[in-house]
Amino acid sequence: MNFKIAAVALAAAFTVSAQAQTEIQWWHSMTAVNGEWVNDLAKNFNASQKEYKVVPTYKGSYAESMTAAVAAFRAGNAPNILQVFEVGTATMMASKGAIVPVGQVMKDAGYKFDPTVYVSAVAGYYTAPNGQMLSFPFNSSTTIFYFNKDAFKAAGIDTAKPPTTWPEVALAAAKLKASGHKCPLTIAWQSWTQLESFSAWHNVEFASKSNGLGGMDARLKVDSPLHVRHIENLANMAKQGLFIYKGRENVPEATFISGECAMITTSAGFYGNVAKNAKFDYALATLPYYPDVPGAPQNTVIGGASLWVMAGKKPAEYKGVADFFNYISSPEVQSASHKRTGYLPITTAAYQLTEKSGFYKEKPGTDIAVQQMIRKVTDKSRGIRLGNYVQIRQIEDEELEQVWSGKKSAKEALQAIVKRGNEQLERFEKANK
């Protein structure tokens, strides 16, 4: 890794002297279609002016690029801009000496920075309790529901009225199974879709202190009666063969594409893959909810990543970063990005522009994620931002697997998540005093 950093630094040193342009190093984790998108953003920005040159570099998965940046920072070679996934947000926020708040960067560069133009569920997530925006929302997504229309037709389910509630999902799953379907429902990102987004969607707390947005002394609350009820329901569905567990993170997505599983809850960012690779008729829908819960459906939580500005760089470089952020937050660029990737438009203006262009009518379902997010958020639904969240997600995966295999009851597992997760939160609080 050190060698790579040295190589990048060396390459940077040479190109700077050759072109007398200020280079902005941007480390990201976007691959394939999304990787091309990132490169195009940089290319177009570089073509639009002469002073700065943004150099995007792929640094591995989200976790890998963050580790690489930490190592680079310790060695004094951090990039200017680092893309960090939502799970790492609390860690970045707590690392005050390592980052410069985006609000500050924009203000210093003379831009009028108005956080209210951003979709509130998106901007609120990356804003500190004192109201300062700390990172730049870049590729934001949320959790939605996909189903296989062909499988629905074969099972005799009306595709015009897709299931919107969990009881309806269970019913549809039973019909699918009766028609011979081996995997009626699967779940990707189980902790994100079934615990985090589930909580916000039903306007119940996932953790205290506004799910951690209000301070580092937040503690988990996922053992509430509603959470127990939902996980119990899923466990019953697993027992009956209605819900089939297909692995952690986004591993189950392949089983939807292949047609093996007929329904899936996962990221809105999965749309591009489905649109390109699914050989059957599919549709997108909102995340299911329980109709008897007051306040449901509220809004789903944000996922994806944001751009952080690293500390300890030259003033000219910060000016370049601000120019670049200003460029990519214009409604035109935003709207184009949204259409291209399926990630959320992060400003209201970009959403309106996309709507006006007729894109949502042309590609039905692409506005589901936006609709789920553009709502007046509550303290319980603004987002989830907890320290040591990488470990907590792992704990959630471990405990939920015990439920799906029948080793633990829903209540035991959720209580274990709270207990083990809170140990992580206490530790994070202590390390970041």
Binding site: V70, S95, A98, C183, Q391, Q394, W404
Partner: protein, 293 residues
């Protein structure tokens, strides 16, 4: 009779071992010392604030039930990997030693897995055993075995043991083959003339004469299972389902490199280091006595 070489100049022996000492210092002693240091600290991800916390990182481990379970998991895993890895490669080596036609081909094929990176090995196995797509899991399904390492802990353990053993077999095989070939043919022929059958010849002549190799491989395989297998776990099960395959070294890797809890990870690696040192000492103290050089 002592076979030790005596140097006249006192500096020369030090000079001769200096390159090795340097390499070990840079790649072992220095990182190990740093791990020891960090195991008494709590640090934020970017290393901006560091606190000395004494034994807290260790106390946390002892109070963590899942960490204690991980010892059992690791013991089972390491034992299976060492015993199966050594046993299978010994069998393969014996047969390869007897082959006359195309011996080179067999030997090459048996050595190939060693050139495969652990993560790639993990991915290969996951392809074969994937519950919905894998060739092997499909075959097992036909036999009435519902293979699902995503939810069945024993299946997951079987999978990582197979991948880890497969990866290590070539190494063991090479040493056993060399060991077998260095046993004088005359000994075996003499035994054959005396009427000893194949099994008896192996058990009373070849196996005892192989004991230095077996002992060496036992130590190496234990160390391999303890330290070198996290990539396989990371590529296949991620320690799941639950914590059924969460071996100690995987936790070290995960907490340190993915979760960036350096203090906690360092404390775990110090524990791991202590265990392996203790095991190696025990092996040299007790098992080595049974070895004929």
């Amino acid at each position: 009779m002592e076979k030790r070489v005596q140097f006249r100049a006192p500096l020369l022996p030090w000079l001769l071992i200096a390159p090795q000492v340097l390499v070990i210092s840079v790649f072992f002693f220095w990182p190990a010392a740093q791990a020891l240091l960090q195991s008494f600290q709590i640090e934020d991800a970017f290393g901006i604030s560091t606190q000395w916390v004494g034994m807290e990182n260790f106390n946390r481990l002892w109070n963590d039930a899942s960490y204690l379970t991980s010892f059992k998991t690791t013991a089972i895993f390491s034992l299976l990997v060492a015993v199966l890895g050594i046993g299978l490669s010994l069998i393969l080596a014996i047969f390869a030693d007897r082959v006359i036609k195309g011996a080179m081909f067999y030997k090459t094929m048996l050595i190939v897995p060693y050139a495969v990176a652990p993560a790639v090995a993990g991915v290969l196995w996951i392809f074969m055993f994937s519950p919905s797509l894998g060739v092997v899991s499909y075959g097992l399904g036909k036999l009435g075995i519902d293979w699902n390492h995503l939810l069945n802990g024993s299946h997951a353990m079987t999978l990582i043991v197979m991948a880890a053993v497969w990866k290590q077999i070539s190494y063991n095989f090479l040493f056993f083959l060399a060991g077998l070939q260095s046993i004088p043919k005359s000994l075996i022929e003499a035994a054959a003339i005396d009427g000893a059958k194949a099994w008896r010849r192996f058990w009373t002549i070849q196996f005892p004469l192989l004991s230095p190799t077996t002992f060496f491989l036992l130590v190496i395989n234990m160390i391999y299972a303890f330290f070198d297998t996290f990539a396989i776990v990371d590529a296949t099960t991620h320690g799941g389902p639950g914590q059924a395959t969460s071996i100690l070294v995987y936790k070290v890797y995960y907490d340190g490199f993915k979760a960036m809890d350096l203090g906690g990870s360092a404390a775990q690696s110090v524990v791991l280091m202590t265990i392996v040192i203790a095991l190696t000492v025990v092996q040299f103290q007790f098992i080595e006595k049974k070895v004929n050089y």
